[in-house]
């Protein structure tokens, strides 16, 4: 029975429903100390003096400050090395780590924190990214920071306005000025959205220890063990074979745990303490560690009366907070994806990544696309209304098609733009008669489309080890963050080896043992790691066939494998199980067969032209929403949402649907109420008391997740990925539904709070009165 397309129960299920699944927060090591972090209360200040002597005098307490890190380069960062492990002479956001304490208990660590004296000299603050780009702005980093090989932006002289702009990207085709001149209508708008919280239920957590040979090992809640190993090796001047990163189950990531976050700090503290140290962030500290980029997106679109889009100019400013993290990559991705899934002859797309005194903005589900999709898809509906064309029809007239050339210059294949758009809208009975309006409640429908790329180039390795008894191990550095990767990868290996899936165990990442993986991000695991796993399994399959050919005295081509047994086609009586083949080969039930594969995607974009190959495979998706708007309170109820995502091939359909549900709910929260708010640089809602995540009662009354399967060229069994596909089109679909309900009244800032909806209603009636 094929394992592909089967919604089998997940292998981690029994552990997760019994409380036996182990997360980093659950790990103790003998002699372990507990850590606490002292953080800046100022959004921007010089760090004048720090005196930890009173704290250090407490029995069993170890304190880490920048003075302990003078033997190394106290800076890390996956694109720009601009983030100190603990502050050196400056703090740049409320929550910036200033010192760290390790003690026998949490209360002892907290008591020690209280005794650390810090003198700050406050500096002016900049909280708005557009303001931060202007001449005369407060500057966060006085010198240009060293770049890592993972930096991908322009050379500085091309994008630099001032030192707050840490990265820029631009790509174009045709000539937008001529395009706008020739257009019948030109629409120019500004859309904004604030930073939001990932909401990973398991906080960031790391347990680090050093051994007597100067080797570092850690358990950490991460999505990127291989890259973190490289980052730590570089920071501490160690070869990678002396740094070990192990990852158990991860209680949610969504991008918050991509690349190094608290790992360098915990490693440095453990180094000083000479004992294992565990740090688990509080929920407030989560808000001060990782957020999603807020952005301001300027969209200018030129259209003809018949609905053809002839020109589009985008200028997207991403607010990366105090440190770059993956901001340059997210903003670049937003840059070229900003045109949307449309064929437009004249395109001019620019994005900037800008520092402000906010907590660092990092990778987030949707990675740079959510911001530009919010802007572009909202404006397109205004355009449709103005031209008197149905929003679906307007899009269909302009969608990218199979074989089209994207603005980056690459050819698009397996394009399902129209299929996804029609599937999502059909699920909401698009075009059908509206229910009768009720007093004080307006009802509307909206839709949005999305195109998304995946991180390219990239590199994933997998090893399959067949044990003497015929059971198998798959070794990868993929992290089980909730997406079901362990189960899906087991299905892929089981299928590739024609063996029972229960006899395949997928490893946890352990960089001493599991081979390199680029990271568990960018919806890439099934596509890249799954492909490597398929090829590794095939290598073992080949060995099995050769053994069987010898032992059964047949040609390998005449052999078949079913249920973990090999036999000559048509002659099942002479079957040999994997265990029998291995035993005969080694002379006893000992030894193993081993297969390995590296799946590499090639490409990347030229830093000057922005052109090249942005993505090994593309994601096409759409969302449609039906809402009710209470005209008295402005409250929006999402009645129905339908999403359509082309997953290439659904290896485990139930897990694909779960991913879409998670994307949809996070998008809904960001659309209606989620926002990290600041007052003069101070966060004001950094707990779950004040920052709401969508609950059972916020979920739409009905949700439909539609999976389309247009096989990708290179994915295992045609699979692409699904983790982020529908998160970007959901907010504009909701906003478009609201506008539809309100006769065109438009809100251009997320979240679509009741206040903003009422303001939009008031503005629309005022305009009607004056018209």
């Amino acid at each position: 029975m094929s394992m592909i397309g089967k919604s089998i129960r997940r292998s981690d299920g029994p552990l997760k429903v019994t409380g036996q699944a182990q997360y980093t927060v659950d790990i103790d090591l003998p002699g372990m100390l507990h850590a606490k972090v002292l953080r800046s209360p100022y959004p921007h200040a010089r760090l004048v003096r720090i005196d930890a002597s009173a704290a250090e005098a407490l029995p069993g307490v170890v304190v880490l400050t920048a003075a302990d890190l003078t033997d190394l380069d106290n800076a890390f960062g996956v694109t720009l090395k601009d983030q100190p492990i603990v502050a050196i002479d400056r703090v740049r956001y409320v929550g910036d780590p200033v010192a760290a304490v390790a003690a026998d208990t949490i209360p002892a660590a907290e008591a020690a924190l209280e005794l650390i004296e810090v003198e700050y000299d406050p500096l002016p603050v900049v909280m708005d990214a557009e303001q931060a780009m202007r001449e005369g702005s407060v500057i966060l980093h006085d010198t240009e920071r060293p770049r890592s090989p993972m930096f991908v932006g322009w050379p500085a002289e091309r994008f630099r306005r001032n030192l707050n702009v840490c990265s820029g990207y631009h790509v174009e085709q045709g000539d937008v000025e001529s395009g706008f001149a020739a257009a019948d209508h030109v629409f120019e708008d500004v859309y904004t959205l604030p930073p939001i919280q990932h909401g990973n239920m398991e906080p960031h957590a790391t347990v680090a220890s050093w051994d007597a040979r100067g080797g570092l090992s850690m358990h950490t809640s991460t999505q990127s063990p291989s890259i973190i190993r490289a980052q730590l090796a570089e920071i501490f001047g160690l070869p990678e074979n002396r740094v070990r990163v192990m990852v158990p189950y991860v209680g949610g990531g969504y991008g918050a745990k991509v690349f190094a976050k608290i790992e360098p700090l915990v490693a440095a503290l453990a180094r000083k303490a000479r004992r294992p140290v565990r740090l688990v962030l509080t929920r407030e500290e989560e808000f001060a560690t990782a957020t999603r980029h807020g952005a301001t997106v300027h969209v200018k679109t030129g259209v003809m009366n018949d609905g053809r889009i002839v020109a589009r100019e985008i200028r997207a400013i991403y607010d990366t907070g105090a440190y770059a993290d993956t901001g340059p990559r997210a903003s670049k991705k937003g840059g070229y994806n900003s045109v949307g899934p449309y064929r437009i002859p004249n395109e001019h797309l620019t994005s900037y990544c800008v520092y402000t005194n906010k907590p660092p903005a990092v990778a987030f589900r949707g990675f740079g696309v959510a911001q530009v999709c919010w802007a572009g898809e909202s404006q397109l509906d205004d355009i449709a209304r103005r031209l008197g064309i149905d929003p679906l029809e307007l899009r269909v007239r302009n969608l990218l098609r199979e074989g089209d050339t994207f603005v980056t210059g690459e050819t698009l294949h397996a394009v399902s733009t129209e299929k996804t758009a029609r599937a999502a809208t059909a699920a909401l009975d698009w075009g059908s008669a509206r229910p009768a309006p009720r007093r004080d409640v307006a009802r509307g429908r909206g839709m949005a489309c999305c195109i998304k790329s995946t991180s390219t180039p990239s590199n994933s390795s997998a090893s399959v080890r067949l044990n003497a008894d015929g059971s198998a191990h798959l070794l990868t550095s993929s992290c089980e963050i909730g997406q079901g990767s362990m189960s899906v990868l087991a299905q892929i290996v089981a299928e590739s080896l024609s063996m029972p899936v229960e006899r395949v165990t997928v490893s946890f990442p352990d960089t001493d043992v599991t081979p390199f993986d680029q990271s568990t991000l960018s919806s890439r695991t099934t596509f890249s790691v799954g492909r490597a796993a398929t090829d590794a399994a095939h290598a073992v399959r080949q060995q099995l066939l050769e053994l069987a050919a010898g032992q059964l005295e047949a040609a390998a081509d005449d052999l078949e494998i079913v249920g973990g047994s090999v036999f000559v086609r048509g002659s099942k009586a002479e079957a040999r199980t994997f265990a029998q083949l291995i035993r005969a080969h080694f002379g006893s039930p000992a030894g193993s067969l081993f297969g390995h594969s590296v799946f590499q995607t090639r490409g990347g974009l030229d830093t000057l032209t922005g052109k090249g190959k942005a993505s090994a495979t593309w994601f096409f998706s759409a969302a449609a929403a039906e809402v009710e708007v209470d005209l008295e309170t402005g409250k929006v109820t999402v009645v129905r949402i339908a999403t359509a995502a082309d997953v290439g091939r659904a290896i485990n359909p139930a897990q694909c649907h779960l991913q879409n549900e998670g994307s949809m709910l996070t998008a809904l929260g960001g659309a209606l109420f989620e926002e990290i708010a600041f007052d003069g640089g101070q966060p004001v809602n950094a707990t779950f008391l004040d920052y709401g995540l969508p609950s059972f009662e916020d979920a739409p009354l009905a949700f439909r997740s539609i999976l389309l399967e247009t096989p990708s060229l290179d994915g295992p069994f045609g699979a692409r990925g699904v983790g982020e596909s529908v998160i970007s089109p959901v907010p504009p679909a909701i906003a478009n539904a609201i506008a539809d309900a309100l006769g065109g009244a438009r809100v251009r800032s997320l979240p679509l709070s009741p206040e903003r909806v009422l303001e939009a209603i008031a503005r629309a009636s005022a305009e009607k009165v004056t018209a």
Partner: protein, 151 residues
């Protein structure tokens, strides 16, 4: 201070600090690490356990207040070799993803079914409103609940 408490049907006497919480008792004193803390302010429900059969946020309950009570954590449901029907329903309906909120979610569902064995979908949503799941498994949890209320 001493508290006499039954945890997962085991009677015990514990000497607890005045500000010690129930979740600290479970995780640190008793090594029962299935219950997880995610928000520390009693909003997210990940730390849900049952006290005398009713769900509570163990991060907010003081150990001092469990004297004479019976506490049930995720480790206390199901018996050797057999899962509790709620656990089985969660597996059948794929009602989890990262699993961090799952123990608390299951205990809340236990509380719901004890109080309203025929709960409607609306009643279930209302009762479970204090159990947050960022991975987004609400539909599947409701399907699991429905399989038990309509059984």
């Amino acid at each position: 201070m001493n508290v006499a408490v039954t945890v997962n049907e085991r009677r015990m006497t514990l000497d607890v600090r005045p500000n010690e919480t129930l979740i600290e008792v479970l995780r640190e004193r008793l090594g029962l690490r299935g219950t997880e803390e995610a928000c520390g302010v009693g909003v997210c429900g990940s730390c849900t356990v049952l006290i005398d059969g009713r769900p509570v946020s163990s991060c907010l309950v003081l150990a001092a207040d469990i004297d004479g009570r019976a506490v049930t954590s995720i480790e206390g449901i199901g018996t050797d070799g057999r899962l509790d029907p709620v656990q089985e329903a969660f597996l059948e309906h794929h009602a989890f993803q990262c699993g961090f909120c799952t123990a608390g979610m299951i205990m809340a569902v236990k509380g719901l079914l004890a109080e309203k064995p025929r709960a409607t979908r609306e009643e279930a949503k209302d009762y479970l409103g204090g159990n947050l799941c960022r991975c987004g498994t609400y539909e599947e949890v409701l399907a699991a609940v429905e399989s038990l209320t309509k059984a």
